[in-house]
């Protein structure tokens, strides 16, 4: 499925849009880390929580559960949400 990558993570993917596989959001992140080593830890902490300024959207809807089931036609968007200087 298609994954949209925010600019802070392009140093890993070298592209704003990549393909990844998985039946859940968690599996997609594992696949992204396989393709782009180090990717997952920058967005998911060691206790498997989403990091505070990272947001995940599936088909435009915000998702908070890494176990969320996905279909191959789904589109995932990662958003970096940061305020302050």
């Amino acid at each position: 499925m298609k994954v949209h990558i925010p600019s802070p993570l392009v140093s890993y993917t070298q592209a704003r849009e990549v393909d990844a596989r998985g039946a859940t959001l968690s599996e997609v992140l594992v696949d992204l880390d396989r393709q782009f080593p180090g990717f997952r830890f920058r967005v998911i902490d060691e206790q498997d929580n989403m990091r505070p300024h990272v947001r995940f959207f599936v088909n435009g809807e915000q998702v908070f559960d890494l176990a969320r089931a996905l279909a191959p036609s789904d589109e995932i968007q990662l958003v970096q949400a940061l305020s302050g200087g």
């Binding site: 925010p6 802070p8 993570l9 140093s11 890993y12 782009f36 080593p37 180090g38 830890f41 920058r42 967005v43 998911i44 902490d45 060691e46 206790q47 498997d48 929580n49 990091r51 300024h53 990272v54 970096q80 949400a81 940061l82 302050g84």
Partner: protein
């Protein structure tokens, strides 16, 4: 694996007859810079920014090979990591497994590394070993030159230590820190570390077990010094010329410890009363254990932690803390409200020792004569978190 872009590449140093030169490794809230000094330490060439926009807490050169750099970094969005360069910053590669606490068991609350704060190269006999201190307080070790990191379980999983670490409430404004990881140059199994807060601790078995070493250290009035939670060592340095001597700048004063003694002496009581002995960094002389420098901060009222009276100055002792002399030559005499953080002051190892400091307002100041006269060597940088020195041939 993420690779960082770099604007300029340092020229290769070659030839054994070349005189050693000093470099400064400046870590800031928005990236890192490497300043290359000429042989007289009068002109400095800036190499950077490296990792522009990253929050860089510490950059350290491995003195064992003279070319490997580690940088502790994160961004406002992304989780913490460590970058590694084996060519003095020309190229960087991310650690394959950065410092991270173990995954908690089902139903238990696990800890999360917010950022790696401190980096220490291991003992000379262990050329691939590094230590890292994190926020919140955690100790990590790499035995492959910083590529992969493991939790030092003897510290991180010890319930008494975890209890003392408290949480964000008792930490510094940027989070509670584990810092001042020190390896005894005579014994690779002998380690020290400090926690803000949580006190100062010693291990004789390479981190498997730890003993508090906070006796004599004072705490904020009204609290029990027997409770290590209240102890806040800001920075601790071991004297290379006499590793039995340590100096400490604490939230509550300047201290000296001579081993095998176990009680710190508050040598900061000899500081001028109107200046006080509050501050963040302490720096030791590379060859004379009686000489150390501090950079006092205002610890009155609401603790501004700026230069007392708006008049910045270093203070030096040349007799182990019995007396202190003011060193403000070249610095602004008034209306200069500097803050210098705990990692942001360092000494080089030149025959006439050079001193360097970085301010939170983005200035780097240097002295080529052991603090007698100071001059700025860089301005308009982001908030400076750390300044380290190294010699390259």
């Amino acid at each position: 694996m993420a690779r960082a872009k770099q604007k300029t590449a340092p020229k290769k140093q070659s030839g054994s007859t070349k005189k050693e030169k000093v470099i400064l490794l400046v870590a800031t809230r928005k990236g890192a810079w490497i300043f290359h000094g000429d042989s007289a330490r009068t002109r400095w060439r800036a190499d950077g920014p490296h990792f522009l926009g990253h929050i860089v807490s510490h950059v350290v050169l491995d003195p064992r090979d003279g070319k490997t750099l580690l940088a502790a970094a994160k961004t406002g969005h992304l989780g913490p990591t460590v970058f590694r360069s084996t060519d003095l910053g020309r190229t960087w590669k991310e650690a394959a497994r950065p410092p991270a606490f173990p995954k908690a068991k089902e139903g238990e609350k696990g800890r999360v590394v917010d950022h790696t704060f401190w980096l220490t190269p291991g003992h000379a006999s262990e050329p691939a070993t590094w230590y890292a201190g994190t926020s919140p307080q955690g100790l990590f070790r790499s035995v492959d030159g910083g590529v992969t990191w493991d939790s030092v379980s003897g510290f991180n999983d010890e319930p008494e230590h975890v209890k003392r670490m408290g949480g964000q409430q008792d930490g510094t404004p940027d989070g509670p820190k584990l810092h001042s990881v020190i390896v005894d140059p005579r014994d690779r199994n002998h380690l020290y570390l400090g926690m803000s807060s949580g006190g100062f601790h010693e291990s004789r078995d390479r981190g498997a077990t730890w003993t508090p070493l906070s006796q004599g250290m004072e705490v904020v009035g009204g609290f029990d010094p027997a409770n290590l939670t209240f102890h806040d060592p800001h920075s601790v340095q071991i004297c290379p010329s006499n590793p039995d001597r340590l100096y400490q700048q604490n939230h509550c004063g300047i201290y000296r410890l001579d081993r095998p003694g176990k009680t710190w002496t508050r040598v900061g009581k000899a500081m001028p009363k109107k200046v006080g002995d509050v501050g963040f960094p302490v720096v030791v002389h590379p060859r004379d254990a009686d000489v150390a420098w501090v950079f006092p901060m205002d610890g009155t009222d609401v603790w501004p932690r700026t230069s007392p009276g708006g008049s910045p100055a270093a203070y030096v002792t040349r007799n182990g803390g019995k007396t202190w002399q003011r060193q403000d030559g070249g610095m602004p005499k008034s209306e200069a409200w500097w803050t210098v953080k705990r990692q942001a002051m360092a000494a080089d190892a030149c025959p006439k020792v050079g001193l360097y400091l970085g301010t939170t307002s983005g200035e780097v100041w240097a002295s080529r004569n052991e603090g007698k006269a100071w001059a700025p060597i860089a301005r308009h940088l982001p908030e400076i978190y750390a300044v380290e020195t190294a010699s390259i041939g």
